[in-house]
Amino acid sequence: MLNIRRIPIPALVGLVLTALFLFAAIFAPLIAPYGNGQIVGSVWEPASADYLLGTDNLGRDLLSRMIYGARITIFIAVMATALSFSLGAILGFTAAVLGGWFDTLMSRFVDLLMAIPTLIFGLVVLSVLPSTLVTLIMVMGLLDSTRVYRLSRAVAVDINVMDFVEAAKLRGEGTIWIIFREILPNALSPLISELGLRFIYAVLFLSALSFLGLGVQPPDADWGGMVKENKDGIVFGIPAALIPAAAIAALAISVNLVADWILNRTTSLKGGRG
């Protein structure tokens, strides 16, 4: 059914790169040539046969740090996306099905949250919360769930008035059944294409936070944190900070290409929607 030759080249590039990043993230300890915090050489050595990408600001192997960084970056972004999706989708569907005060209350609250730029509110909250992975995932997931909420609610409101939902209500199914068995399966395809975009957003948000020194704390580092560690080298002409920054861009672009392709596929199957 899925013929590899019929995948457009941009999507193929995206798929291969995404798979590569995932592979690096999952098997980090097996493929990294050196340990994550292991100091192997002097500071900011250029690329060589021993250190394929050179060394970082403390003399650690940059390639190994990049591979471990992929693990942290992707792990946090995946967890935050999973949280924002489950929370946003369930609340959005519930609001659409129940309507009434619950819908009004939730929707106005989401409007309010979205009236503050996400990064700014994230910074405000992080100023009092402890800097741990759990806080980071919770804050990113909760803030981003507002967008998922809006989308899921809009999709569910359309589905909620369809005949099969009406039939399920008439035969006495409860709200839980309506949400998970009637609405969820029919809302999946628009939500899945949104999934890619939310993941990219999570990667960029995390990178920005870590770059500002408020995300993942040393000695661990995600890619944004690695940019921060190596940024002082830039003015001496040492491009070490550009490598993790480029990796973030490459990950975001490849996921974007895949998401675009999935969006086109699902919409053409559905025969419409733009």
Binding site: A115, V125, V128, F211, L212, A249
Partner: protein, 319 residues
């Protein structure tokens, strides 16, 4: 004719004020009522009971939350933003010059990116599906995927280090000559421009293409106007309302971009100030600066609404 417009505008502004009040509650709640004690999280786990009690008294944490909120809000409304915990300085005084610096940077980024985006958007419509158009789509993909610091450090690496045209660190000071100041902000303004440009171009293109499908455009084409004239005289005036919206949304986006960009270039603005004090867990500063950012963001959104109402008569008569 003007009174219904005024009424609508007044409604939007009133709505904005209510929203801003609600946002101030949220920002206050976000820093005060979260699990754990603010004093504890500022001082860390090793704090002695005495220093905790002192800090609680200094922050007024012994009062109930709503009392503290109204004290805080009352202070802000009278121009008193409180004092910074870390330095003991008056926040309003420290912010003054920084706010001006940030607005200066954002203004020049906007002054370059808006005409450029609209012009390129028009070009993309004129040569749609050609290489110009494809290039713009590619740029839009890149700009939604590139983190600001990637663009920022790339520019620093080439323009400041390799070719040494512009400074890589944007130092500005009071009484700096205008041209020196412009040279100092060249790179940060360029990063901000690149971050918002592609999105603005793409939305401008979409807005004009939408109008291009109308019957009056076909009439204009059939009566023999040149392609540029069709766009300039018929399509563009009708596309202004959505374009104003896009421009305002992107200006609001600049607000967020400015935080990261100021840190990249060590530019003495509001974003840098906010980030420094989040790291120091200096809650009064974070609240004040967060509220200012939110206020600017909300104001821009209201201006976008009002601009759309003024530009498009159809929006003045809600169904």
């Amino acid at each position: 004719m003007s009174s219904p417009i005024l009424k609508l505008v007044a409604q939007r502004i009133a709505l904005g004020v209510v929203l801003l009040l609600a946002v101030s509650v949220l920002i206050f709640a976000g820093t005060q009522i979260l699990p754990g004690d603010v004093a504890q999280s500022i001082l860390g786990q090793s704090a002695t009971p005495e220093s905790l009690a002192n800090l609680r008294a200094e922050l007024g944490l012994n009062d109930p939350a709503y009392v503290r909120y109204f004290n805080w809000l009352g202070g802000i409304l009278t121009g008193d933003l409180g004092t910074a915990l870390s330095s003991g300085q008056d926040i309003a005084t420290s912010i003054g010059g920084r706010l001006w610096n940030t607005l200066f940077l954002a203004f020049w980024a906007a002054a370059v990116s808006i005409p450029l985006a609209i012009g390129l958007g028009l070009l993309a419509v004129r040569y749609r599906n050609g290489w110009v158009d494809k290039l713009i789509s590619g740029l839009a993909l890149a700009s939604t995927s590139f983190p600001e610091f990637f663009i920022g450090y790339l520019l620093v690496y080439f323009f400041a280090v390799q070719w040494q045209i512009f400074p890589g660190i944007s130092t500005v000071y009071d009484g700096m000559p205008f041209l020196d100041r412009m040279q100092a902000i060249a790179l940060p303004a360029a990063v901000l421009t690149l971050v918002v440009l592609a999105h603005m171009m793409r939305m401008t293109r979409a807005a004009i293409l939408n109008v291009m499908q109308s019957a009056y455009i076909e009439t204009a084409e059939l009566k023999g106007l040149s392609a540029i004239d069709v766009i300039r005289r018929h399509a563009f005036p009708n596309a202004i309302a959505p374009i104003i919206n896009v421009v305002m949304l992107n200006l609001a986006f600049l607000i967020v971009g400015v935080v990261v960009v100021e840190v990249i270039f060590v530019y003495p603005g509001m974003g840098q100030y906010l980030v420094d004090h989040v790291a120091k867990r200096d809650v009064p500063v974070v609240q004040a600066v967060g509220l200012i950012f939110a206020a600017v963001y909300i104001t821009l959104n209201i201006v976008a609404d009002i601009g759309a109402i003024v530009a498009n008569p159809r929006l003045r008569h809600p169904k």
